[in-house]
Structures are given as structure tokens and as C-alpha cells.
Symmetry: C2
Subunit: 316 residues, 2 copies
């Protein structure tokens, strides 16, 4: 069985751990969002790719869901002493090594896909992890401050401003001119089905689908998504602030309608959102209600199994 | 009073601490050796500049004489886990921040002299620290292994091989094509006198003098040197292995003769080398014997005072 997953950060990484347990013999390819990528202190940081890699490789901070376990922050403190640090984005010492290896390889001319492969040789995530593109894509957020509008990097909006300032527009800058990374289109076209984990539809799955060629390839497949919204609220993060920017309600049904039946064949919602099963707006999408909180590995594997079952039914 | 000092690493840095104490009102310019510079894990490392900066800025590991006090090595251990580290060269986490700032600025196009000025803004070393050149110069060592000769970076010979393999040749690669960094020639020509601290004559002072224009400028000045050799042995490091490569004996007198009277006007030797005072080979150099062990700040300041006194006499 070949499964291809479009992935954001923490939610996707946790789901993937369950999927890996639920489908031990499957070949899983993960197409990671790189719209969150940012250059800080001269280091190229790929938060979503690293979260997937650290989580599946057993190095993640379980409490945070991102970054490395048992981190120290000496390098960042020293950079601050030089006036060269970034006080609003935590970069631990262990994490820095990843960014040093990545930045060095990128500077020497390696594409991000080759860098990611090298990093994964250490972490052995048990899936093939591909960046959506080797071309730089950065999600930018248009905000209004003191009456004037300016565009800032997604990370600045998300991490520094805690998404508290309304986003007027969210744009995956560079996506329209980007090319899918080597292996991405092939991983989609040869997959038995494609899964959307409970990732942010606007800033995680959205930028991946914005790379020309990817949404077309996905549309041709059986696609099952898992709602990142439960009971009208994001399970994690501030997806509501992102959905507001594109005029989509914060509900499991609205997110499915946003993707649309052209893209989505099946959609898992939590039991408390079971009204979506009979939502006439989702008539062309097979909606199923199951417990969706990823409390631990067994409950997450159950969700993955439900997604696989639905996909198998839809494909038959 | 304006004093310009050509400097290597640990010996020079300790001497400079004494000089700063002995000449509180002097404007001291330090021209640092960059022949030891090396790129490790994609980071540009300038060991001699950093040793001077950390020592005068109060951040050095006093036990080692180089590197930062109370260091940790998380980044290096993590790089090793990626197969991207250098196991023979210790790079601490605090130290890494310096290399990150430097590499980032160099990559962005800043010359090393501007980088050094930026780094010194934090450390406030109380001297003006200039790299000898903004052009890359790397000291290479020709060795013979298993019957075949190969050239390796000085650091590999010094740190990894502990200078145990004989050096057949020591070459400051790139020096002949290098230009003195901005301010270097001016700092020499406007100095009241020039000092050579007890640095390695072959791999510390040698590469500085190999940059076209510097030795000519130094020759025109009153120059006093402090012997790095006491009683036939280097006080620190493996200068004997370097001197052997250029056919110079490991003695205070032989090092003075190597510099020669064209360059050197005065030479301080330790009391146990007082025979050098009447050495006919050093007839054109004013040799003075004083206690030369830099045991602590007061004893080091005494040595600096002796050098300043000799320079003042010679200049008069």
C-alpha cells in the first residue's frame, strides 16, 4: 500500500505517528509544507519538516510538540549578546545543529530535498519526507497597524504576534512560481490514496496545494482528510485566525466545503461534529464521525485506521 | 602613545592583557594573524582573533587560554550525530554563536575587518583589533605520510596531529596575493613603536609579515619583540616543530636572528637566556634579559613595561 500525506507541523506529525503504527507495511510519503520556512540569524529554519522529522525520529519535545527534547539555549543567548539573535523565535542548541547542516548544504548548492534526505538519514522517520518544493516559498500575512498595512512573515504573525492582529490576507509568496520537489508528483500519482492530516488548511495544506501541479495531481486521487477543527475550535494552534482571513467559518463542515468535493472524497469529523455527516453542502463528500482527539498513540492509530478504511471504501 | 602589536593567539592575548595594564593611556592596535582561520561545519572560525577578543573581553577559558569559559558542546555533539562534525577541533556552544555571526556577515559580503569590529562591539577588548587582511590566508603544512607528501591545513597538523608529524614546509597560502586590511598599514606607520608579543614566529607572526606591505611598514618602525622561547623550549605550544620546518633552532637567540636586525630593534629574552645579550650574531639588536614567564597579570605587565622601556630607549 502506498499512502501520500500532505503535512504541516505538530498535528500532522502526531497523526503520522499513528498512521505509521496503523499501516506498518505501507510505503508512506510525506509532502511537507515549507511555507513556514524562515531565515533567522543566517540559518534556514524549516519548522514543519523538522517537526515531522523530530516527531517520527523520536527526538521531539513531547510537551511542546515541536523542537528537541531537553533543549538548552546557549547559542541563542550568545547571539542575543551580539545583538544578532531573534528573541521571539526559540532556537535550541540541538536544533541549531540541524539548521547549521541545512544552511551549509543549501549554501553549497544542494536543493532542500537533498538536505532533507540527508537529515532524515540520522532520524530514520520511517516515512519518505519530501519538501513540497525546492524553491523558496514563504507564507506572508497582510496586517494593519496604526492605520497602515504591511506584509509580514507568517512566523512573525504566528509566533511573535500570536496571531492576535487580524490577518487581512495570507499569501504563500513564491508558490505560483515554484516547482514541486523531485518525487512529489510521482508520490501523489502512484499513491493508493492521499491523506490530509489534521493540519491547518490555510497555512499548512494551503501552501502545498498552491504549488502548481500538486492540486491537479491530488484531485485525480482518492483523498481523505481529517478535520483539524473539533466542536468549532482548532484542536491546536490558531487556525481560526487563519480561516477568518479567507472567510471560512471555524467548523469541521466549513473546512471540508473550503477544500471542496473536487479535492476531497472523504472527511473525518469528530463525533461532536456528526451533524456534518448529513450536511447538504457536503453531499459530494463522504463524511464520517469518529473520535478525533489524538490523546496518545493508540487513539491516534485508531483515527488513522478510520481514514484508511474510508479511503479503501471510496476507492473500491 | 600609539602602540601596534602583531598578534597570534594565546601568548599574544595574555601579553596584551599585561600591555593594556602597563600602558593605560596608550592607543593599542592589534593586527591579528588570520593564517589559522579555518572553515569547519560551514562556519568560518578565526582562532587567533577570537582568542585575543575573548581574553581581553573577559570571556576566555582561563584554564585553556582559548575558547569560552564554562562551555558546553551540544551543537558539536549534534553535528556529529548528523555525521557533519569535526571531532578533532573543539567548538563550544558559546563559541558557535561567534562563528554564526561571523559566517552570516561574511556570506552577506562584509569583510572580515568589519565582522571583527562588530564582534568587538560586544567584547570591548580595550584595543583596536584588526585582522591582518580581509583576504583569505590559510597556513598549510607539507607532511609526508607513508612515503607520499601532502599539504594539510595548519589546524589539522597542529590540533589533530599535535604537530607530531614533521612539517617539511609551512606556507601561508594566499598571503602573497593578500592586501593588508583597512587600517593595518596606517596603524603601523603612525605607531610610536611596534611590538611582537611572545607569539610563534613561524605560524603567528610569520603569516602577518608575509602579507605584502606589512613587513616593509614594520621595518620602518622601532620594533621590540618578546621571545616565545625560554631556555630552549617554547613556553606554550609546539613552536619547536614549526622552527624545525624553517631550519631555525629552538632558542631565544635563533628566533631573534631569524627575524633579523632589519626588522627587530630590540629583543627581550628570559634571564636564563641572558647569554643572548652578548651574542655576536645579535650585535645589531638590543637584547635585554628580564623574567619572561607570564605567571599572572602583574608579572605580565612587568614584561610589557620592559618592552615599552626598551622601545622608548631605542626610539630616542
Amino acid at each position: 500500500m502506498r499512502i501520500t500525506v500532505l503535512a504541516g507541523g505538530v498535528g500532522a506529525a502526531r497523526f503520522l505517528r499513528g498512521l505509521r503504527a496503523a499501516a506498518r507495511d505501507a510505503e508512506i510519503t510525506v509532502i511537507g509544507n515549507t511555507g513556514d520556512d524562515i531565515t533567522l540569524s543566517g540559518m534556514r529554519v524549516c519548522p514543519d519538516l523538522d517537526t515531522v522529522m523530530y516527531t517520527l525520529g523520536g527526538g521531539v519535545s513531547e510537551e511542546q510538540g515541536w523542537g528537541r527534547a531537553a533543549e538548552s539555549f546557549t547559542v541563542q543567548q550568545e547571539l542575543a549578546a551580539y545583538g544578532a539573535g531573534t528573541d521571539w523565535f526559540a532556537l535550541g542548541d540541538k536544533d541549531f545543529a540541524t539548521h547549521i547542516v541545512r544552511t551549509r548544504m543549501l549554501t553549497a548548492g544542494s536543493p532542500l530535498s537533498a538536505v532533507t534526505e540527508t537529515l532524515c538519514r540520522r532520524w530514520q522517520p520511517g516515512v519518505r519526507l519530501l519538501p513540497m518544493s525546492d524553491d523558496p516559498v514563504e507564507t506572508h500575512v497582510l496586517i494593519e497597524e496604526n492605520g497602515s498595512r504591511r506584509s509580514i512573515h507568517f512566523q512573525e504573525w504566528w509566533v511573535r504576534l500570536h496571531a492576535a492582529v487580524p490577518a487581512l490576507e495570507i499569501t504563500p509568496t513564491g508558490a505560483a512560481a515554484a516547482t514541486p520537489a523531485p518525487g512529489v508528483l510521482d508520490a501523489i500519482s502512484t499513491a493508493d490514496f492521499v491523506l490530509f492530516p489534521p493540519s491547518n488548511p490555510v497555512v499548512s495544506i494551503g501552501p502545498i496545494l498552491a504549488v502548481p501541479g500538486i492540486s491537479e495531481a491530488v484531485r485525480a486521487k482518492t483523498v481523505v482528510g481529517i478535520s483539524p477543527i473539533i466542536g468549532g475550535a482548532p484542536v491546536r494552534g490558531m487556525a481560526d485566525a487563519c480561516l477568518a482571513a479567507i472567510g471560512v467559518q471555524t467548523s469541521a463542515a466549513a473546512v471540508a466545503a473550503h477544500y471542496g468535493s473536487e479535492l476531497l472524497d472523504g472527511w473525518l469529523v469528530d463525533e461532536q461534529d456528526k451533524a456534518a455527516v448529513d450536511d447538504p453542502e457536503l453531499a459530494d463528500i463522504a463524511v464520517r464521525a469518529v473520535p478525533l482527539y489524538m490523546r496518545d498513540l493508540p487513539s491516534t492509530a485508531e483515527i488513522a485506521r478510520a481514514a484508511l478504511d474510508l479511503a479503501a471504501e471510496l476507492r473500491a
